[in-house]
Symmetry: C2
DNA sequence: AAAATATGCTCAAACGATTGCGCAATTAAA
DNA sequence: TTTAATTGCGCAATCGTTTGAGCATATTTT
């Protein structure tokens, strides 16, 4: 890069001090009584010299970075990509900049990124943790970094989060299957020790219990297409098959669909399917898939409101918000009552 | 945030100078002959005090940020989200950090973000421009910032890019329709003055011309679901309908699908469909949709290789790479020959 | 034993911005 | 006219690192 213009260059050119230049360029000319004329001269010079403030320098001195960090486990998961998009737009409204990083569902990367974020003096953090560990997050929170967990949170921690009522969502889903007469259900889960997964499984099991159904299974271990695919494939090896599948994420559902298609299993004639997470494309599938939709926009809006208020006020309030999911009823569930 | 540990704290604690601390912590203890013992003492202290280097300070002084910036037009578009995910992973391999920003298909935001990136001393830039303006990009490139355009580029500029052969892709798509006997085709395009769009339209028209077909139309103006939806809806008002639709992106296709479904138009019996951009879900649709797949992974890998080599060598080579797309043949095209 | 080399470490000046304090010069009040 | 208040601006320290230059002490070479 060619040498960048600094505040000094402008000072030299205008014959004013760097102090005045800085003040004008930060919109503090009123406060520090810089003459209107000087202001205009400085602004003109800045424009002419194509000045861009060095973020490092200003941030180093002022301690403000005007940046919100966002860590997501995987941008190739439409659910998270969508969240990223929403957060990004929302953050801008508050005058901050988002920097987004993909942790690739890898806790080590997550930790590294977190360090980098701190090194970059981010003012607030929105994070969808991988879900396996929490100490590092707890640490930065305790050190005073305002943050909000999204989607995956930690029940035992006193840290703000915004998520969906995963228990309820799964309970609703399972119940829907039950009400359609299903008595043999396979649940393909995601990351086993993540809170949403645990709660979804819990909700699922509770529904089973309440209905007195014992013929169910919970398998799988990742929120990925591969997991959905392989678990479905394995299930299909058995002579006795469940009548319905409940996938705990849209990626898992995608893998499941792939496996079913390969084996020519029809939905819902041969097997019923319901999944957590909604997506536009679910409507256009061979059989549109019923889903438990999370209120993504609301989650993002609330998370940000929450975060920003913690940024501004000293005393932190630990708001933990759980929003209700909604069933998007489509044609993937057959009624096999009697 | 509670006060962070600085290099000074470590110096104080260990009784050594900040210089030595800095050198040890940067892995330069060999080069500057710091005693092994001192090194260990310093490392232990850093660990104990939970030291994280202030990125602003070091970047300010050294001029290195170790950061690659990525600007995408919309993370809610799976195609771009996928690119972001790939780039992110690839960048990490080279030891850099990516910061991703979503420009929301808004040139003004794109300009602002670019300024912010410069203020943050990014060392390289990967950008999928909105596609409408290029001066600001040309400017930073001329000032020496290594960058690579992805997907959307500018033919007339001497700037590195990696993209797909859009002309060829569209030509192939159109030809496929023609070979199936289609003689009345609707093309729903994206951002009109973006290069990929222009080339796709050109390829489409060339195929029409080569086949002597005059009964075609090119409509639309955005790479969005809404655009696909409304253009399809409008088309459906007419008594005379095309026999095939060619959508120039997967978002447009999604909107198109929505409209077709609402009006109960079947694919491919009532109308055939082919789209640019592939996605896993296209396989599971009511009728799996034939697509022109771009080699996303290769694009990202090459772009990064390109960028990194420009980072390291002084003299820039302007590599402009065009990769071949591939047809993913599925069942969305009916044969209506004769 | 003196000279040369190696070893281990520090000084202090940057990097580019922000900011508390203070000082002229001008204007208003007494 | 003197004093007080206002206006307009600059000095210089500071943020946390990095780094060229240099300085003792210890070791090796002659």
């Amino acid at each position: 890069m060619t040498k960048k213009t600094t505040i000094k260059d402008i000072a030299k050119k205008t014959g004013l001090s760097t102090t005045s230049v800085s003040r004008v360029l930060n919109g503090k000319s009123e406060k520090y009584r810089i003459a209107e004329k000087s202001k205009q001269i400085i602004e003109a010079a800045a424009l002419e010299l194509n000045y861009v403030a060095n973020h490092f320098a200003s941030s180093l001195k002022s301690g403000k970075s005007n940046t919100i960090g966002l860590i997501v486990p995987s941008l190739s998961n439409p659910f998270f990509a969508n969240i990223a998009s929403n957060i990004n737009a929302e953050v801008r409204k508050y005058g901050y900049t988002t920097i987004i990083v993909d942790s690739d569902e890898n806790v080590e990367i997550e930790k590294t990124v977190l360090q980098q974020f701190i090194a970059r003096n981010i003012e607030g953090l929105i994070i969808i943790p991988c879900g396996k560990e929490m100490e590092h997050i707890k640490n930065v929170y305790d050190q005073g970094l305002p943050l909000v967990l999204l989607d995956r949170y930690f029940e035992e921690l006193e840290i703000p989060y915004v998520s969906t009522d995963n228990f309820e969502g799964a309970y609703m889903a399972a119940n829907l299957l039950i009400n359609h007469g299903h008595k043999s259900i396979l649940c393909i889960q995601g990351i086993i020790d993540s809170t949403p997964n645990k709660l979804r499984v819990k909700g699922f099991k509770q529904a089973m219990k309440d209905a007195g159904i014992e013929n169910f299974k919970v398998v799988g271990d990742a929120f990925s297409v591969e997991n959905g695919y392989s678990e479905t494939k394995m299930m299909l090896q058995n002579k006795v098959r469940p009548t319905a599948i409940f996938t705990l994420s849209n990626t898992i559902a995608m893998g499941c669909l792939k496996a079913l298609k390969e084996e020519n299993i029809r939905i819902p004639q041969d097997i019923s399917l319901i999944t957590f997470d909604d997506h536009l494309y679910l409507d256009f599938l061979a059989t549109p898939i019923t889903s438990i939709a999370q209120p993504v926009e609301a989650i993002c809006k609330i998370a940000l409101k929450n975060l920003i208020s913690n940024l501004n006020e000293k005393e932190k309030t630990v708001k933990q918000v759980i929003l209700k999911p909604e069933i998007k009823y489509r044609e993937s569930i057959s009624n096999i009552k009697n």
